[in-house]
């Protein structure tokens, strides 16, 4: 979709154009709390994931205000454990305002006994610790960042007068070590992880049709991307963000790339078609191809809604929320000056759809 003239979306790129000529590492304060907890229509969360050598995948949210329909902006923690056999357990545990605290100076969050904290020495990359102990699910993990923190431009995209969306990535890649708790089992784990942080003041489905989001971890490069397709209220504008890091340093921060979706296939689980091939191309600088080899999750998100919300979403709002978690083979080709390096591997990426992406 070509971004049309007259769009009301103002992205935060610092320039030139929709990219950042200067990429500054994130500061700790940027991963602190931004909203006023309890303020109506404001949402904010800290997201962590990890893929372990054991085959487990873990996702943890610390919500200052949960954005998902039916959650009413409640504070709490959310944990998703995807086991090697494909079985998934998902829980959101709300906490009252007195039991949820978050610092504005840095990522320092407490929700009951659960916590998130960070330490960083001068010149070093940060080390995050998360602890969750809820309903037979839990984790105690240490993330050691391997890439500088990053944000696209100012990190904030303004969607006309309908609201803003902010996104910072304190680390796009980290080594993770610790334990996860699955029922009565405490499992030592080691793997690779990711953390980002969002805050916004509108509900996604009001202006977004779908988004595709993912990362690539190769030997020398880390890539993080997002493609967010807005609806007609925003002139069908597509917000595109991409970060490429070589080693620790982010070397590319841009919204100027081709995002090509090909070979759509319908999935009855999510009740949506998804592209089996994605190509991301920054002319003369980067090309990445992702070819889906396995659909790890495909979910009709209406199933998570209460019956009333499900009825409203389906019949009044005409929403068909679907979710995909995909495992893909990738190749990435990076050109810097006269040198081009090509690397390959496998990666996980996601698609959330409120409307069709075809």
């Amino acid at each position: 979709m070509i971004n049309k003239a007259g769009s009301m979306v103002k992205e935060g790129w610092t320039g030139p154009g929709s990219r950042d000529a200067t990429i500054k590492p994130l500061t700790l304060v940027e991963d602190g709390l931004h909203i006023d907890i309890g303020a109506k229509g404001m949402y904010e969360w800290w997201y962590f994931d990890a893929h372990f050598e054991t085959g487990h995948t873990l996702v943890v949210f610390f919500h200052a205000a949960n954005p998902n329909p039916g959650m009413g902006g409640k504070p709490g923690v959310e944990i998703v454990l995807l086991r090697p056999d494909g079985k998934k357990t998902h829980a959101f545990v709300p906490y009252g305002k007195p039991d949820f605290t978050a610092s504005r100076d840095k990522a320092d969050v407490k929700a009951g006994a659960n916590y998130l904290r960070v330490e960083q020495s001068e010149g070093e990359l940060p080390r995050y610790e998360i602890y969750i102990n809820e309903k037979d699910l839990g984790c105690h993990l240490t993330y050691r960042a391997e890439v500088n923190g990053w944000k696209p431009g100012t990190g904030v995209s303004q969607f006309g007068n309908l609201g803003y969306f902010a996104w910072v990535v304190p680390f796009a890649r980290a080594s993770v070590e610790g334990t996860i708790t699955d029922g009565s089992n405490t499992i030592p784990v080691r793997g690779v992880g990711y953390h980002d942080h969002n805050w916004l003041n509108f509900q996604f489905p009001t202006i977004i049709d779908y988004w595709m989001w993912g990362r690539i971890y190769s030997e020398h490069y880390t890539m993080s991307y997002a493609f967010i397709q807005c609806n007609k209220k925003m002139d069908n504008y597509a917000v595109k963000v991409l970060m490429l890091a070589e080693g620790r340093e982010a070397i590319l921060s841009t919204g100027e790339f081709d995002f090509i979706k090909q070979d759509f296939e319908y999935n009855p689980g999510a009740k949506h078609s998804y592209p089996k091939k994605l190509t991301i191309r920054v002319p003369d600088e980067l090309e990445a191809n992702l070819v889906v080899k396995e659909v790890l999750e495909a979910e009709d998100m209406l199933n998570n809604f209460s019956p009333v919300l499900r009825f409203i979403a389906k019949n009044i709002l005409r929403l068909k929320p679907g979710y995909f978690r995909l495992a893909s083979d990738f190749d990435i080709k990076v050109t810097r000056g006269a040198k081009t390096v090509k690397e390959t591997g496998t990666t996980l990426h996601e698609i959330v759809m409120f409307k069709s992406a075809e």
């Binding site: 003239a5 769009s7 103002k10 030139p16 154009g17 200067t22 100012t154 303004q158």
Partner: protein, 576 residues
Amino acid sequence: MLTVDELKELKDIVGEEWVKDDLPTRDAYSIYYNSSSLNKEDKLWTARPAAVIMPKTPEEISQLTKFCNRKDFMLKPFSTGWITSSAPGSRKTILLDLKRMDKIIDIDVKNQIAVVEPYVRAIDLQSELWKHGLNVHAVSCGGNHSILASTAAAWGYGITGASMGYQARNMLGVEWVMPSGEILTLGSPGDGAEWFSTDGPGPGVRGLIRGFQGTFGGLGTFTKVGVKLYRWDSDPEYEVHGGSPKYVLNRELPNLGVFILMFPSKEQITDAGYKLGEAECNYSDFRMPAFFIALGFTDNNLELKQLWSTGVFQKLARYVLTVCVHGHSKKEYQWKVKALKQIVKESGGLILPMQQIPLAAFDIVKPFFKMFKNPLKLITKIPFIQEITDMMKTSEEMRLKLLTTAFFILVRHANNSQGGFRASSGMFTSVGAFDTWDMGFEQADYIAGVKRPAIEKGLILDDGGDLGSGGTFDFGHLGYIEGIGEYSTNDPESRKATKAIVEESLHGTIERSLGLPIAAFGGPMNQLFGPHCYNYHEMIMKIKAKLDPNSSYDSWTYSGASEKAFPDEKEGYTFF
């Protein structure tokens, strides 16, 4: 984004090699001096132009203009102006870089008129003119500015304004590619006569295209201008020794002298300014604030810091006027120097010897200066102080060194490279209404007060507050002083403080009736100042709407955000 067909159409007009739509070129035209002042987010980069085109002729520009009348794009012409007002106001803007239009078309020595294209720089024209015994007014952004731009399109204040006036008044006819694409020559040349007047028979429309501030490329492209010249009765060229950035004249130029006049009070410097103008002594003049004087005395920032910290300049050089005296004959020069000395004496001032004083001397006199609030007031009371001062001599090289610094500022307009950016990397300006010489100092005092809290917090450079820079115009009939400040371009807090100072000064200018400041152009500023000045902004918008109904020219620096601009490009800004 331009389509393939649109690009082809543009290339057919000017030739393929002169249309640039590649990213590196467009990015290179997206960054300007102080461009972060244009947005709330403090972004360094402006909108990226849709393309950059380098036309060669008015006919090509005419066709490009007609293209923009048909398409959803706009033109913005500029020549040498690497300042934010030359930036594209929209991603739909096609920049016209006029550097291929660089011809001095004519120098009419007898009638003292030059006709030039947009990319003729003041320094180049001046160098050529000196061979013919002529000179041209140059504005204070420096000798590398476009004479056509300062004459026909924007601003016009400069150090030689004392004898050569405000540049808008030196315009003697202009060739204009109108927003419709029609090529119109205004004034006498439009009637087939020579270039001697912008107003031909019948009603004059000079005010329509030039007015006070200019149209900043928002109302067509000016492709030729006739400019009034002034006499130069000194050597056609000079030789220097030394190396960058400090060249030194090998010898003084005939019929030319530079004087540093010091006064104990504001009243005395203003009175002297009027008298010098009345006697037509000042070929050019510059109210040099104390910090800039200290800067001129030093070769590097370490020396400057040491010198400034003595506190001597803050007390001694608060009211300094540097004056270039030029005689059209030896006798006239001698008379003017004599008159100048008499005026300084009557005004209770002191002429500083043109000597580069050893820096160690300032440490010696520091205790004396600490004892008195206004030591110059005492010094000027000493009998025969001027005669004693005149006897002070150091080496010829030291004398030539200081003379050269003043010469390059007052005569060759190399002012900003020497003064504006050396100390802190960034310079901002404010106030700067064109009014009386007295009011110039009122503005300087006002902005010094606005700056003070930021100086005390270390957010901007401690220049003493009063960095009011300017001079007299039309031999004292008018005066101009703008409130400069120095900040760190690398420090976001410094940039933020700068923006706050400029914003406060805009409102303070209105509250204190300090006239239209240098930044009073473009949509948001016109909206702010227009209601206090006969609603001029409404007239500008009417002119724009009538002459450019299809928004063929990007008007963000003229009448306001263009109709064609994207919504996010229509936000306000604080230009500094």
